[in-house]
């Protein structure tokens, strides 16, 4: 009767490999379900997902460097000279 091979549940290594696809909403509904089923029973992968989210949030807070005032002056000078041409 077992004509269709049952899908094995995901193991941690597979779940970790799928984290970005999950966060990007790129998993098929079926794979999404398998992923979420794994997470529901695995505190470590749940923690890993939280760490990925924390990493993304931290990247979102990375500020650009301050602009060197001399560099700004040089560029504005360049702009003025270009206008006069």
């Amino acid at each position: 009767m077992l004509l269709r091979k049952r899908r094995h549940p995901l193991v941690c290594k597979q779940a970790v490999a799928l984290m970005t696809e999950y966060l990007e909403n790129d998993l098929s509904p079926r794979d999404r379900e398998r992923f979420e089923q794994h997470l529901a029973g695995c505190p470590h992968c749940t923690e890993y997902l939280a760490q990925m989210r924390a990493t993304i949030a931290a990247a979102g807070q990375v500020e650009p460097d301050d602009l060197d005032p001399e560099a700004l002056d040089d560029l504005v000078d360049l702009f003025r000279r270009w206008k006069q041409q």
């Binding site: 290594k13 696809e21 470590h44 923690e47 939280a50 760490q51 931290a58 700004l72 560029l75 702009f79």
Partner: protein, 194 residues
Amino acid sequence: MGDPDVELLDALRVGDDAAFATLVGRYHTRMLRLAEAFVPTRAVAEEVVQDTWLGVVKGIHRFEGRSSVKTWLFRILVNRAKATGMREPRNAALDDGDGLDGRFDAGGHWAEPLEPWASIDARLDATEIARRVKECLPKLPDAQRQVLILRDIEGADSAEVCDLLKISATNQRVLLHRARSHVRGMLELELGRG
């Protein structure tokens, strides 16, 4: 749609110095950060960004408002950075750099429990964690660094990044995954595993 930079471009078209200075103030160092992910040195990155600004003022009539001003600036920058010459490819690391080597047992389960980061917020404020992420950037392989900057720091969406870097959606996602895993691994070394 509500792009605050469009007014600046309008002023720039009529030669407004102050508008130019504002635009430079807003984007110069962000463009420098992105350029550094393409070219060999900071000095070359500075040349590329200066060259980009010249391209912007000369080509301002070509801005059609189909993308945001920011995306338009980044597109000019990326094209120039690529034309300038890529960095020397570095030797591929032995592992993926995600800190996951040897972390799983033969069955693919975590060999040891993951050290929770719950204490992160208590130990370090967000600015401090962001500073550490910034320090990780030069350690990433270039393609990963480009995608991470655009997606997670600049907030571009995946379609924009594919278009800017001329890569497929799958490639974009793989690079993003590796970059984030890499940064997570570097943060873990400092924050997690005691």
